[in-house]
């Protein structure tokens, strides 16, 4: 579990992230939505320990011990997939996965490489280098690499930003499959509605740096006091 309480982070004179309380539990899916500039990316960067503010932020490890962000073990089991994937140009698709599955020890074929290649539908491109792949294929490779690292928490920052709705749906299905299999916590910043209606998803709405709603899809349908949420609901398919 990652827990944030009374946490403030001032990015500049105009914006402050101000979280009263937010808890990211194990084996749960979170969708973080909000207007542009509401602090979604800042929130997940803070949870990852990439940005530092003031307040309470900790993670409970397997033994139930609280670990603070500046501690080395805080990042263990966390994985972040940003919009720039930073794939390794000198390694092939297959080698990306071999490296990850072997904990960096080898580039030779590993037992689960084929599984992940078929998961993201990149089996035919296994020997290709990243610069020869399309944008969607690169994104799938980045996702496969992130999943192959067997994270406890997987943070995705607008993973559907550069792909069409059909690809986004395929992407979401892959995530769902692995989420069920591995049991990691999925935290997704998104503007898309794909997957948001699932009963086990938790929606977190941010407005001007504050969390104004945390709950399920059904619960948000009954929330009326925020103009942004009302407009957002109206656009739901």
């Amino acid at each position: 579990m990652i827990c944030m309480q009374n946490y403030q982070l001032q990015k500049n004179t105009q914006f402050t992230l101000d979280i009263d309380t937010l808890t990211l539990r194990k084996n749960t899916k979170y969708f973080i939505v909000g207007a542009s500039g509401s602090g979604k990316s800042t929130l997940i960067r803070t949870c990852l320990g990439l940005d530092e503010g003031r307040g309470t932020l900790f993670r409970k490890n397997a033994s139930g011990v609280k670990v603070l962000p500046h501690h080395k073990s805080y990042k263990q089991g966390l994985m972040y997939l940003s919009q720039s994937f930073a794939l390794w140009e000198h390694l092939s698709v297959e080698q990306h996965l071999n490296f990850t599955l072997s904990q960096g020890k080898s580039l030779l074929l590993q037992a689960e490489t084929d599984y992940y290649l078929s998961l993201v539908n990149l089996t035919l491109q296994r020997t290709q280098k990243p610069h020869t792949l399309s944008g969607g294929e690169q994104q799938r490779l980045a996702l496969a690499r992130a999943l192959a690292s067997k994270p406890s928490y997987l943070f995705l920052d607008e993973p559907f930003a550069n792909i069409d709705i059909v690809q986004a749906d395929i992407f979401m299905k892959m995530l769902e499959k692995e989420h069920k299999k591995q049991g990691f916590t999925l935290v997704k910043v998104t503007h898309h509605f794909v997957g948001i209606k699932e009963n086990d998803s938790i929606i977190v709405v941010l407005e001007e740096g504050k969390v104004i709603f945390t709950g399920s899809y059904q619960e948000i349908l009954h929330k009326h006091d925020s103009p942004w949420i009302n407009q957002w609901k109206a656009l739901l398919p």
């Binding site: 904990q103 960096g104 690292s149």
Partner: protein, 495 residues
């Protein structure tokens, strides 16, 4: 590791700290030292230096703008690569080599020393000014320009209200940088008979006994460094140095202009090669080799060792700075590097000699070590600057920030293969700067060791044209060879 990082920074800053300390002592000791500043000869030399630096910088920037315009008219990436290649090679040719070729062809005719000095300085700065303009124009936001075009704004109006506000800080920094490059150069104006501040400073040094008086007489250099440091800090604060990769469509021109300019640049380079080759062949090749083989081997070996060590040190320090220090410390580090880049290299060498003398551990190994250190100090800012520029193009690798892999595996399988090309490019660039470094090679050279550039400089006074041309040609061919490799590798480095 944090302690190691800070210790390394302090050790690296030692010559600057020593110079600063002597400066403080000198100022404290009083006005009779400052009296030497207001002597006519010093003021005249300072005025002449400022005039020379200003004129040549403005001319180089104006001409560089035209050459940069020509670059943007080139359609094919191959032509653009060739253009950048020739600019970089031409910049790497030191003013003293331009002078030796100019004397061969009697380029100057009846021009006075001031005009000759400006010509040489402008020719030397022109390629760099062009490169500056090319990178500055990449920064312009194309959307804003498109909107201006749709609103039927005139070219002048667009330039004044949209383009200039975006790039004025960049232009200012480019001006300062080029200005200082000319200001600290002293060899060529001195050969041409144009008295400069740096030469006057060095003349004063011979008459001064105390280190503090010598350092105090270099006060204008410190002031210049201070101004540029402030400019750089402002640049970082305003994020004005984060160049985008967008090519500006602002410069609309006929492609013929670009092609012609490209041809002119290659003709210029070709002409230099031809003149040097023709002059060398006045003496049998065998004789030229016999006379120069030792200095060639010594110079190349020095260049390899120094460049390799500077590169490794810079990579390590860059890594440590990223991980173990604050933004403030990084800015301080940038200012220290700026000092090494822009202070007269003779002053830095003097500080090192001073340390060496105080330590007293004289030996052959000590001689070579202090010589080697001199090069490392003056080359490090270049290495850091290049690492910084290449790093700007890199995407942040969050995966490795979180994935638990050992540092060794990370370096071996990811960092090394990824950076190999970039590091090789930087290594080659450092090699060219080593080959052209004059001040350090004169002041700190161990007994029995000689570099090509010093030999060229000495022979220039004796009119030994064949040997000068041969050494200059070898150096130029080596540079060209390096940059053929560079342009081949650069595509891989900046994808």
């Amino acid at each position: 590791m944090r302690l190691l990082t800070y210790s390394l920074l302090v050790l690296f800053s030692l010559p600057i700290l020593i110079l600063g300390a002597y400066l403080g002592i000198g100022i404290y000791e009083g006005t009779n030292i400052l009296h030497s500043f207001i002597q006519d000869s010093f003021l005249v030399a300072l005025k002449q230096s400022i005039i020379l630096s200003s004129f040549s910088t403005v001319l180089a920037l104006m001409a560089g703008l035209l050459f940069a315009k020509a670059f943007f008219t080139l359609k094919h990436t191959v032509l653009q690569t060739l253009y950048l290649l020739v600019l970089v090679v031409l910049f790497m040719i030191q003013p003293i080599m331009i002078l030796s070729v100019a004397k061969q062809v009697k380029l100057f005719g009846t021009l006075n020393p001031f005009s000759q000095s400006i010509t040489i300085a402008t020719l030397h700065l022109l390629p760099l000014a062009t490169l500056f303009w090319i990178s500055i124009y990449r920064y312009i936001q194309t959307e804003a320009l498109s909107i201006a075009h749709y609103l039927s704004a005139t070219r002048w109006s667009t330039y004044w209200h949209i383009v200039l506000p975006q790039i004025r800080l960049h232009i200012g920094l480019a001006f300062l940088f080029l200005f200082v490059l000319v200001f600290i150069d002293q060899e060529v104006p001195s050969i041409l008979g144009y008295r400069t501040y740096t030469e006057e400073l060095l003349s004063q040094m011979t008459l001064m006994e105390e280190m503090q008086t010598i350092v105090l007489s270099a006060l204008p250099s410190f002031m210049l460094v201070g101004v540029l440091s402030l400019g750089i800090i402002l640049g970082f604060t305003n994020n004005a140095l984060s160049f985008s990769k967008t090519i500006s469509p602002y410069i609309q021109s006929n492609a013929r202009f670009g092609n012609t300019t490209l041809a002119v640049l290659y003709l210029w380079l070709g002409a230099m090669l031809f003149i040097l080759l023709k002059t060398s062949l006045a003496v049998p090749i065998q004789t030229l080799f016999n006379n120069n083989i030792e200095v060639i081997l010594q110079t190349l070996s020095l260049a390899v060792v120094v460049s390799l060590c500077t590169l490794i040190l810079s990579i390590l320090v860059q890594h440590m700075l990223k991980l173990y220090t604050s933004q403030t410390m990084r800015v301080i580090w940038a200012c220290v590097l700026l000092c090494y880049l822009l202070l007269p290299h003779s002053l830095i060498s003097l500080a090192l000699l001073n340390i060496y003398q105080k330590l007293g551990f004289f030996s052959s190994v000590g001689d070579f070590f202090i010589f080697f250190l001199g090069y490392v100090f003056v080359l490090s800012p270049i290495a850091f600057l290049l690492l910084f520029i290449f790093a700007m193009h890199e995407k942040k690798d969050y995966f490795l920030d979180f994935f638990p892999v050992s540092s060794y595996q990370r370096w071996l399988r990811i960092t090394l293969p990824k950076q190999w090309t970039v590091w090789t490019i930087i290594f080659l660039i450092l090699m060219t700067f080593t080959l052209n470094e004059l001040s350090v090679s004169i002041l700190l050279v161990p007994p029995g060791f000689e570099t090509m550039i010093v030999k060229i400089y000495n022979l220039l006074h004796y009119g030994d044209k064949a040997n000068i041309a041969f050494l200059s040609l070898l150096q130029l061919l080596f540079l060209i060879g390096c940059f053929v490799i560079l342009s081949f590798l650069s595509k891989k480095a900046i994808r």
